[in-house]
Symmetry: C2
Subunit: 323 residues, 2 copies
């Protein structure tokens, strides 16, 4: 009931957006307004029925921030620290030993194998309900190192307005993210008004087990099912949604194939990229960043005239707490 | 546009259902009406907010018929015949040789391996769009051997009314079926008013490929991703929907875990089973059937007082074409 009340408040907040007030007048805002007008004008050659108005959004770096590290990875590191007392062997076992010493360079040296070990230790071996509860607790208590606020406050106000605007115009909004689907579903309904069944993400394998009390549980296994990033994004879209989007927004090379898949359909299409250009209010990074690298997709966006949002130029507010 | 018009007509047909006219007054209908009244009465202790009113339905044997063989398997057999001229080696290669001779006993002897070979030959090695087009063509032209009608007419009229009734009461209706998700999505919107993004089914792996024309495609690989049957159904529900249903309907032991998963949540729950008891109007089968075997789930339904629909007793019409 509390969740429902919060959802209602979020929905009301969205409904009050009245267009896109946090977007400056410019080519990005104009492109959005024109596209929505085109596909919603009855009788126009560009009209698209509501059922086909599928809009997909990357999450990290597109709907909320992703620096200095992906927020889900901050969760994983905090879980390693919280679980360490139960794993005395971690003190001397890489990559855990590096994390516990705060030696992020040492951890980075463990590469993909190290990341997978951390994910296995922090994201698997519990029921889906236990994981959800743990993630919810963390989101309620953790604070972003620079902004000193809960991570869920680091959502982009202009994108909230865009989500609401699209829904007001008959679009169905989905997240299609490399993040873990069960991690995202903890906050997407409250933060974005996007219900769990409209969140597509990376998935691990699950196993149905009948508990001793006759109540079944789903155990999270340390085995990846889908990495919903790069070429995995069109796969995730096809598997979960089963329709090609007409509107897609990303911010990195991991979104390139999702944008290409969206662009390849017939009729009107909107492809957008958030370009992080604002080190004062948020962060500035693109071609050489380790997180949210935007290089090839930026070239393709330029070549194909996709909409590139220049955060500094196009957004008069980044976060809802900005003046 | 044509699809949208058909969808609109289907939606109007549903809206005219006015309750459950094809259901006889009896314990099954009463249980449905009571459950819906309980969860939709504002202020009642049993009230459930619309966002949480998730209803899941098995497809084969629950929403449409499944005898004498699963309809998707009839499609696969027809595809073997249609593709045979391109595969002269099939004349002498089991299991294809048995199928081409109409020797179903010989084919059955090839077991699960034979089935997988047929699925690989007929369901993989093409793009998702090619597969969808092939399935749509087949559904338009194939006829059921007994009823001499398109397979999509063999949907159960009482279940169409139930789907519409639930939606009118704020439920979101999903299919959760062992059938292939891309096969079902061809017809579920028109047949049931259930859009592609609310269809959960078995999935094969997909690969993103950039075509020579610069247009990407998704290739269907001959590798299973999820078998959405038995214990795979709660896994599919968690992966795709991310919420526990409050209402579930199945008809076979393959639905048992989905019903158990639904039952294990807190608050009001509805678990229903279609029992095929009507050889005159449809089919009569349960504990010993090779297709749609209903044995353990029937015992559990009895023990736990789930709702068992006796097709002969509870439905005054089975198909829309019945007098």
């Amino acid at each position: 009931m509390a969740a429902a009340a919060l959802l209602l408040m979020a929905a009301m907040a969205h409904a009050q957006s009245q267009g896109l007030p946090s977007w400056n007048d410019g080519p990005a805002k104009q492109a959005i307004l024109k596209f929505v007008a085109d596909v919603t004008s009855p009788g126009a050659a560009t009209f698209i029925p509501p059922a086909e108005r599928i809009a997909v959004f990357d999450n990290d770096g597109t709907l909320w921030a992703e620096q200095p590290i992906y927020f889900q990875f901050a969760f994983a590191l905090d879980r390693v620290k919280a679980l360490a007392p139960k794993h005395p062997e971690w003190k001397t076992t890489p990559p855990f030993s590096a994390i516990l010493k705060g030696d992020m360079k040492g951890f980075a040296a463990s590469g993909e194998k190290g990341v997978m070990q951390v994910l296995a230790a922090t994201h698997a071996g519990m029921t889906t309900e236990e994981f959800t509860e743990t993630a919810a607790q963390w989101l309620a208590n953790a604070r972003h190192p620079r902004f000193k606020r809960p991570y869920t406050e680091l959502v982009y106000q202009p994108m909230l307005e865009l989500l609401a605007y699209l829904r007001e115009n008959g679009f169905k909004t989905f997240i299609v993210s490399g993040g873990g689907v069960e991690f995202m579903r903890v906050f997407t309904e409250k933060a974005y008004g996007i219900p769990p069944e409209q969140v597509v993400g990376s998935t691990g394998q699950l196993a149905f087990r009948m508990g001793g009390d006759g109540k079944p549980v789903l155990m999270r296994l340390a085995k990846i099912d889908l990495v919903d990033d790069g070429p995995g994004k069109p796969v995730g879209i096809q598997r979960f949604i089963g329709r090609r989007p007409i509107f897609a927004f990303g911010n990195s090379d991991g979104d390139q194939q999702m944008l290409e898949w969206t662009a390849a359909g017939s009729g009107p299409r909107f492809m957008g990229i958030v370009h992080h250009t604002d080190a004062d209010r948020e962060y500035a990074y693109d071609r050489t960043s380790h997180i949210g690298k935007l290089d090839k997709a930026l070239d393709e966006a330029t070549a194909r005239a996709w909409t590139v949002v220049d955060m500094k130029r196009d957004w008069n507010r980044v976060f809802s707490f900005d003046k």
